[in-house]
Symmetry: D2
Subunit: 362 residues, 4 copies
């Protein structure tokens, strides 16, 4: 048996790894057991967000004091920029430790990575299939038996840069887009369709037929994808329930249909044993170990029949608006801002909405 | 007897007064009965927010087609910039019409204005006293008997410009600040203390003793103040309950202690007859005529014990973050984004929080 | 004979038309003689720039006090948002008055407009041809004989909105793009190709063959195009030299190859009789009546072999960076910031550069 | 004798130290000879600019591969955020190597640091005196005999944080300001006055009499100060001419009176042997080793008699506008964007202007 642990630690700056260092020093956190680290950092979450790189550099430097560099290199470090409104910068460290015994099911964590993609494969069928394969590998690694037991799949996926586009063109290949910012969305979308494919959320035929980024009616209810400049493969972390794991942690998920759609999340809280009528009591903040959500503005420009202005604001990026909104909606429910709300939800939940996963102790 | 009406009308652009024009054409809205117009417009809500001026110009042009210019000039046109996140641009038109009879109490609306202030009086005791006097006048005009029946006081107050500062200095007077942006906060703060003074929320002695902008422990629970460049006096609109008014509309208020503090608002919804456990049902959206709230980041840099980054963001103004946050929190409760959430809450509710008024049909 | 006048008037706010009102009151400016008004306003120059609408509303209100509304409606009011860095908000009022006699050649001004375009014609051959036709009409109206005598063509062109796209789709037509922001660039590009077509700057065949927005090697050296939401046709103002006009004003132009390419502008100053070695002497500021330039970041991400970051900045729009840059370069040359520097130069000069027209008294 | 070297190296990202690594590998750059590293990085240059920290982390990691950590800790790493408009991210590495012989004078470089300041000393006389002392030490270390031979003094100075303010208050001391952003300006201003004091640019009496940040008529013509969160002392780098140094490099400086004041810089280019009438020829780009300038908007809101809008823009920080402007003005003169233009020029040149130092090979 194995047991998963989730550490939620506040950060006073993007490179503030002191809370992790303290937890390691106290032996609350075992470096060798770390499966992945997720972080909310306080940059703009867009192209020129250097808070992510700063956080990653600090984290890697810390981990290399405790682990061989090649083991550190295997740990997905997924930094999501943007703590707009009430969101709080924080780290989520996922551990898997051997357990002497115990009963399941419980939270299970697995990871895998795809082969390195060529630039012309990004945002295309090749990426979808590679991610699907990695999701299946990570599920197996986590000993999650059924697709329906998967509640969250984090994918960190590559993007196109000017240099990669040039490399593709020199090799005689057309890329999915010449716009580097747009390539982030295409890569996230293909990764999400790969998740949907692996879990059987969508018929394979419909996935191939639909152009990626085109038919937003096709989506995964558990995928959460972030594009990053620092990798050329795809890193996949699967979270779900498994009988091979023990301990008090449980995971469940909901899908928000739009930015105000808090009721499905309230329902999930109820299934996890919280009294969900009003806001969570502060005593419950620790028991609810993590909230992981995707946010985006609806392309229609409307939300519950009213106009929103997120897509028309040339001063503040639309994903910044969307994170602030969903951070407010979910924070009003759970009562604090240490929420992993990430922007850019192509094929991750319906247009304008997104998946939300909750991890809590029984 | 009189009867108040509240029209909430969506806007497709800052100068989209077509919904008002249509309501006037249909005789749903009587220009001569308009007491005040509030508007959420989609600028940044900061110094260079030209959406407010554009909205005001369009509104004035429309009203001048139906009313003499001097009557139009008497109507407070309070434009609040900033529809971040899920907030929706909209107009709130407040009408007072004679009623043939009926029973009270019901929503009452009154207005008044202070004399023109000299630049050196802005943000100082003179402004506090002038606003207090205008609040009392507006209460009398609205026939609201008790201070405890007042649930919302909107003040539109002046600010200092370079030209006004120069005028003061030429006259040998020192102004409260040489920083024009800061003068907005000082003016809002003094106006809020004026409201608190008129309503007996704070002992007069403490108001004089405390430097304006200094002791944030002194605040009004019903004041909502906006500074604007276009006036040199203060416009006051008082909303409350009065036995001299009839009709179905009721008003009540809550105070949010911080940006996530949704429970007091839920309580107010309950007092107004809504089932408040989860999100309001869409059928209730019309019955809840208006939501009026103030938002600001806490100066401590912390929210519910976690760090927020609203005050450290040099790309996006702190008031923009705060409006997005409170718009999400309140929108998660009421289910839509036509909320009059305004930023800059000095002495309007506690630090990091703010008053929220709700108007609903019985 | 006719004589052109150019009035350059500073503005203290987007709606500050007081300098125009004063000039009209002094009879320095004759409303009936106004051919066009250009304005630099202080918004972001992007989608949600409400300073343009505010300026236009104030300007129209002023002109309607002096002219019939239908005459006002005929005057192109071209507001260009964005006064980044050292740029100063100002108005440029172009007048054409009858002259009792005199000799030419001198600055000539003509205007024309295209028929209303259908949404599916925007950014397409239909727009190119319509603009080309209007340029020829405006040239004829201005009595400019040769294409080589044309030094500046301002086009105000339409863009696609969600509503217009829906209208096109309902009528069974595909539009050039579903992205409203992108439609601004396509419309500007088609308009610029229309100018190039009319003036014979490019072989017609190459224009048709090249997809609009595609081959940036095709460009006009005198076109300056701005897209606006407020019109569905194209307004064209042509400035050039004509023997049918008299007076001291002359116009000439240069093409900047990139954002730092100031030498061609220095050369033009020399041809206009200025001593161009260093910065213009302040005594010459009035004699140089107007500087009209286009600015954009190069798509290569490089400028003179060094990396620029204008296209990677998700906080500040690339056109804002480009205007600030060119405003600095040209302001360093002419010594002040009342420069009509406008962003978005698709097919207007080479990639990363743009046309610059100078008007000066002999 | 010693000889100074200046390496100007472009960066493809804030953490791109590959050009330095290559120069070290080629033995063009000797780690042990490095006196200081200056870098322009592409963040916003304001509070939440994480590009500076990312650059510093990467630089430190590289240097620690070649030098003991305590030697690395002694090297001032001065990152200046903000490459607006045409500015290019780049590194300036300053080396001092022993020279076998040769003749002077030539560029000389010295460095020193102040003791650690208590929070309540920041922005106050204690900081002025400490910086003055360090400037004298650095001059002595660089063997620069006369104050008039000093042409550039870079100071990296501390700022107040919430934590430091609390520490001061616990110790019973009042700090210069409670506003952390404002403390950056006060610290820069005090450091600049320290430079002026050490070099005898201002009478000591006037420095003490004038409140720091108050009388902007008091300024240094060679100081360039940047506040950083990562230090509590002040790091000082002095550049000047000395007979104890040899080699081809020369340094000279100018003071821009305002953002468009390019002529004094043109004059300095002439003194350094360049033909300054037009833009520098590309062949000269290497010979002009470095351009170091400060930029700021004038507090009057006017530039050459015209209004600027840099201080009224709530979307883009005023220092960002100012850097873009001065980058354009200087880039128009020298023909490229690898210019170390830094914002925030309190007491560094006159209000709205700033010092500019040029280093060139003879």
């Amino acid at each position: 048996m194995r047991q998963a642990f989730v550490h939620r630690l506040g950060a006073s700056a993007p490179d503030d790894v002191a809370p992790l260092a303290a937890a390691i020093a106290d032996r609350r956190l075992l470096p060798a057991a770390i499966v992945a680290v997720l972080g909310k950092t306080e940059g703009n979450g867009c192209v020129n967000d250097f808070s992510r790189g700063l956080a990653t550099a600090a984290l890697r430097r810390l981990l290399e004091q405790h682990l061989p560099a090649d083991m550190v290199a295997e740990i997905p470090l997924v930094m999501s920029g943007g703590t707009e409104g009430g969101l709080a910068p924080h780290w989520l460290v996922l551990e898997a430790r051997p357990a002497a015994g115990g009963v399941g099911p419980a939270l299970a964590v697995g990871r895998a990575r795809t082969p390195r993609l060529e630039p012309w494969e990004i945002g295309r069928r090749e990426q979808i299939e590679a991610v699907a394969e990695a999701v299946r590998t990570a599920m197996a690694q986590a000993e999650i038996a059924e697709s329906s037991d998967v509640h969250y799949v984090q994918v960190k996926c590559p993007l196109l840069t000017a240099e990669r586009i040039a490399r593709a063109q020199d090799a005689g290949h057309a890329v999915a887009t010449l716009d580097t910012l747009k390539s982030m969305g295409l890569s996230r979308g293909a990764a999400a369709l790969g998740v949907a494919c692996a879990l059987g959320e969508l018929p394979r035929q419909r996935i191939w037929e639909a152009a990626v980024g085109g038919d937003l009616a096709l989506w995964s209810s558990v995928a959460s994808c972030s594009a990053g400049i620092e990798l050329e493969d795809n890193e996949v972390v699967v979270l779900g329930m498994s009988h091979a794991w023990t301990g008090p942690l449980r995971i469940d998920h909901a899908v928000m249909a739009d930015g105000f759609d808090v009721e499905p999340v309230r329902g999930t809280l109820g299934r996890l044993g919280f009294a969900p009528n009003g806001q969570l009591h502060p005593d419950e903040h620790q028991r609810l170990a993590a909230v992981l959500a995707k946010a985006e503005p609806s392309r229609s420009g409307r939300l519950r029949g009213c106009r929103h202005t997120m897509l028309d604001d040339s001063d503040v990026g639309a994903t910044r608006h969307a994170r602030a909104l969903v951070g407010g909606v979910l924070g009003g429910l759970v009562g604090h801002g240490e929420l992993f709300v990430s922007g850019g939800a192509e094929h991750q939940g319906p247009d304008g909405g997104g998946p939300v996963a909750l991890i809590a102790a029984a």
